[in-house]
């Protein structure tokens, strides 16, 4: 059962071959067996899940399929939500309402088994919070599973569940997907609702979805999480049809630009990352696509990362102060990790107009870069490219401790992460969809993903090409060392 994806599991339930209770019991058994080695799941709700599986589950497309939620957003009424913060764990914070995203998972018939690990307020591309300890990479214990959705990625890679919730404000779906050998799609800004407890200023960067092992799971879950809706601040263009139907459709001959170096030139890429993107470029060529070296010039602007970091710090200060208000106390240096405190302190010193100015500048940069993509991939006469191909990361998953900070040098880990994630933040600034695909493994067996970035609103094209690559270079039979 651990090798069957969520679409497959749902089909077994629909045809009466297994019951939701059987699926849920089997997944619980896998989590109990594997989690001591991985520390991917930080809180379970097994008893509730068993009751739900035995009861009247909603008749949705994923009825009876077990899943996990990241311990950051996707709030469920009355249940704990800690975001990796000791502050919230000590306060036993409970969400006041079930947010729109969790509601969609539940209405689709998913059974939620528990919460997965996250770095404190999702700040880092690794998953080693002081509150819950590090999550291990199932491909190599002692190495990072990536972050911030590292708990979810480790859980899916090890076969605990087929899909797990994830979110991405600077790469946090794509980074752990790359580190754990998974499919990780960051949807277009505004595609998937964010929760009632989340500031939608953050939604400027953050997108919600899942990590999965198959492209069809990512596509079919996006039909659930990304269904057109009526309430929310920002919107994505209406999908042309069901994303599930895009899987298997010939994408035609697409123009793809490819990037095999840090566009700002500020760090060197690990040879395994260069190898991954080079192989992917050859594979795409062999499938009939036109692949040539090209990327939006704006990606070469080193100031872009400065702007992103400024927004990141400012949002951190807002989030930390917001949580403090919710638990009814002020936050001190002892309540949070050194990096969190440093970014909070920095963010508190930023003026409102300065923050606004940074956001305006980021939108201008995104507007300029957007011209690199063809507005309509079907228009072969138009200038520009349909997809950008990059390595997802600058290096293979490093050992635990690589992104640690201390009180004396609280930004060290954050600064160190810049060379690890040279390719992901741009799509959070622009709001464009981007996907990690597990197409390469290092000589010692660690996954190294590649990223495809499409024009705003064009998840359909990403899914078509991702499914084509999945068929051409299947990864489903590859399993990590820690696996069900």
């Amino acid at each position: 059962m651990d090798d069957i994806d969520a679409v497959g599991q749902a089909e077994l339930v629909r045809t009466g071959k297994v019951s939701p209770a059987e699926l849920v019991d089997a997944a619980i058994a896998r989590i109990e067996a594997l989690n001591p080695e991985l520390n991917a799941v930080v809180r379970d709700r097994f008893e509730l899940a068993r009751v739900e599986a035995a009861g009247d589950l909603p008749v949705g497309p994923f009825r009876g399929v077990p899943m996990l939620l990241k311990d950051l957003s996707a709030a469920m009424e009355g249940e704990p939500l800690y975001e990796g913060m000791r502050l919230l764990r000590d306060a036993d914070y409970r969400a006041s309402a079930t947010d729109a995203l969790a509601r969609r998972f539940l209405d689709a018939g998913f059974v939620v088994l528990g919460r997965t690990n996250t770095p404190e307020v999702g700040l880092l591309p690794t998953t080693e919070p002081h509150s819950y300890g590090p999550t291990h990479n199932p491909w190599k214990r002692g190495h990072t599973p990536g972050g911030s959705s590292g708990g979810s990625a480790a859980a899916v890679a090890s076969g605990m569940v087929a899909v797990a919730h994830a979110n991405d404000g600077g790469g946090s779906i794509r980074i752990p997907a790359s580190c754990c050998g998974l499919v990780g799609l960051k949807p277009t800004r505004g595609r998937v609702p964010i929760g009632t407890d989340l500031n939608e200023v953050s939604n400027f960067l953050i997108c919600e979805h899942v990590v999965s092992r198959t492209v069809r799971d990512t596509a079919e879950v996006l039909d659930v999480t990304g269904a057109p809706r009526s309430v929310g601040a920002s919107r994505a263009p209406t999908p042309r049809g069901a994303y599930a139907d895009e899987v298997g459709i010939d994408p035609g001959r697409r123009r793809i630009g490819f990037l095999d170096a840090d566009p700002t030139g500020s760090s060197g890429l690990h040879p395994e990352c260069v190898a991954a993107v080079t192989e992917a470029a050859r594979l795409l060529e062999s499938l009939g696509h036109l692949v040539e070296p090209s990327f939006p010039l704006q990606w070469a602007d080193a100031e872009a990362l400065v702007r992103f970091s400024s927004v990141w710090a400012t949002e951190c200060s807002y989030v930390v102060d917001d949580w403090a208000a919710k638990v009814g106390r002020s936050v001190t240096e002892d309540d949070v990790e050194p990096l969190t405190w440093a970014l909070t302190t920095m963010g508190r010193g930023v003026s409102g107009p300065a923050f606004m100015g940074t956001v305006v500048a980021a939108m201008e940069e995104a507007r300029a870069a957007a011209g690199w993509w063809r507005p309509d991939p079907g228009d072969d006469e138009a200038e520009g490219y349909d997809l950008l191909l990059t390595p997802t990361l600058g290096e293979p998953p490093p050992p635990h401790g690589t992104f640690d900070s201390t009180r004396e040098a609280p930004l060290d880990g954050f600064i160190r992460s810049a060379s690890f994630v040279p390719f992901t933040t741009q799509s959070n600034i622009s709001g464009q969809p981007a996907i990690n695909l597990p197409l390469h493994w290092t000589a010692d067996g660690l996954p190294v993903g590649v990223q495809l970035v499409a024009a705003f609103g064009r998840e359909d094209l990403l899914i078509r090409v991702a499914a084509q690559l999945e068929a051409a270079a299947p990864w489903i039979d590859r399993h990590p060392s820690v696996h069900a």
Binding site: V201, D321, S351, G352, P353, M356, G457
Partner: protein
């Protein structure tokens, strides 16, 4: 049919039909409009930058499109036209003779549809007022009573259309600035949904998404057909409104299904008292709507009675005002002092300096949470309303010189203007479509609009309902005192 007075009676759709059938040339239409501007504008001061030579040149070789050869005016704010003056109601930009380096997508789309821009219209400084009495360019007068203002901030455009200089004119609305002048000048003014009309390429969003852009018109069909021209995502937009299933022009021509409509005549958040004639206009509209088969009861979202957000929202307004003053310095190429802007603008910008990024984000978060509470009234699956009906304004058009006196107290001006924003500004925060329809006249012969507020992205419902009202209780025969 080429008499300039007869042409002044025709809406843009009818003028376009004359050009299409060959009865009138674009040059004749444009020359007639220029003649009307020259004859009437000295009485109302609506047009501040004539672009007659440019217009005549374009009319000689008109762009093919649904509005080929039809003259229009654009506001000196909320968009820019390459090579044309751009003064935003500000005396410094006027002194240095600033011209725009490039054009907005919106103006490209107007010209791409065949419209010929014959000039630019007056606006209060940076659009910060509900009246159009900038110190830089002087007051625009209301064609219905030249001792009164035309509303603002799109008061120049509204006065020009009401007086018949052009059939339609561009406008923008960040706190009511399309609907307020439409109400005061007896026009149709639709503020589209957030993200419906791109504000690029110069901006990603304006005033945190408060600002929506469109036109003021005399007929519903013009508003609908021009929205078909202006709607739609442009590359690099940070978010977009989903496109409608079918063109607005067709929707506006047919009666809507029977709708469930709530009537509210109390000012939002108890901001001010409501003039009985304004409340009476909405009540009379309710009776008309009932006679047309709709269900109307006294009801509105409970969240509209909350008062907390009004004060805190000043954080966002002040931060944006400072942003505007800083942008002015960039445009002028020198530091800006208190002498370069109106006192009210300077006071607001100074307040912006004190706003921290945390406060700013808290306010945005509170506004988003409030938006969800407001929108639930339209989107509750069990108990949804289709439309909220209110007066557009809480007061009749003001006597000139009372709202923005040159040596007045800026704080007092803000209080005095509250009745003009009391029903309108809330829907800039929520991003919903809202429309003023000219249904009533005061005892003294001044126009009174009623506001229709639709569910998120449902301009189609508003346009269909407004079209039905226009057929049931037509306003085309009412003409102002000053009329071409």
């Amino acid at each position: 049919m080429t008499d300039r007075t007869d042409l002044a009676e025709l809406d843009a759709t009818a003028q376009a039909a004359l050009v299409a059938s060959g009865e009138v040339s674009a040059t004749e239409l444009v020359d007639a409009a220029i003649a009307r501007v020259e004859a009437v504008n000295p009485e109302i001061n609506a047009v501040i930058h004539p672009l007659f030579e440019r217009a005549r040149a374009r009319a000689a070789d008109p762009v093919a499109g649904p509005f080929s050869g039809v003259p229009t005016l654009v506001k000196d704010l909320d968009g820019q036209l390459a090579g044309a003056p751009l003064h935003l109601g500000n005396k410094l930009l006027k002194e240095i003779g600033y011209t725009a380096p490039d054009s907005s997508y919106l103006f490209d789309k107007l010209e791409g549809a065949g419209f010929v821009i014959v000039g630019k219209t007056n606006t209060p400084e940076f659009g910060l007022q509900t009246t159009t009495e900038p110190h830089a360019y002087g007051a625009t007068r209301n064609p219905w009573d030249p001792t009164r203002g035309p509303g603002g901030s799109s008061g120049g455009s509204a006065a020009a259309v009401a007086a018949g200089l052009v059939p339609v004119a561009h406008a923008g609305d960040g706190g009511g600035s399309i609907r307020i002048p439409s109400s005061e000048c007896g026009l149709v003014g639709l503020k589209p949904s957030r993200g419906r009309v791109s504000v690029g390429p110069q901006d990603g969003e304006v005033w945190n998404g408060l600002v929506a852009r469109h036109v003021v018109t005399r007929t519903v069909r013009d508003s609908a057909a021009i929205l078909d021209v202006l709607a739609g995502e442009m590359p690099g937009d940070p978010y977009t409104a989903p496109l409608p299933d079918r063109p607005y022009a067709g929707v506006a021509a047919a009666d809507p299904r029977p709708l469930r409509i709530g009537l509210r005549t109390d000012a939002i958040a108890a901001m001010c008292d409501v003039d009985p004639e304004c409340a009476g206009a909405a009540e009379a509209a309710a009776k008309t709507l009932e006679s047309l088969g709709h269900t109307v009861d006294v009801a509105s979202p409970a969240a509209l009675d909350e008062t907390e957000l009004v004060a805190t929202f000043l954080h966002v307004v002040a931060a944006n005002a400072l942003g505007v003053v800083e942008e002015l310095a960039t445009m002028a190429g020198r530091a800006v002092t208190a002498d370069d802007v109106e006192p009210g603008t300077w006071a607001l910008a100074e307040a912006g300096r004190a706003v921290s990024a945390v406060q700013y984000q808290q306010t945005i978060a509170a506004a988003h949470a409030w938006t969800r509470r407001v929108l639930a009234w339209w989107h509750d699956p069990a108990d949804a309303y289709d439309v909220l009906l209110t007066p557009t304004l809480a007061a009749l058009p003001p006597v000139l010189g009372t709202l923005n006196p040159v040596d007045g107290d800026p704080a007092m001006a803000t209080i005095m203007q509250t009745p003009y924003a009391a029903f309108a500004a809330a829907f800039n925060v929520t991003g919903q479509p809202a429309m003023s329809v000219p249904l009533a006249m005061s005892d003294d012969g001044l126009p009174i609009g009623v506001q229709l507020v639709g569910a998120a992205h449902r301009e189609d419902v508003l346009l269909a309902l407004a079209g039905q009202l226009e057929r049931a209780v037509p306003w085309a025969d009412r003409r102002p005192q000053i009329s071409a």
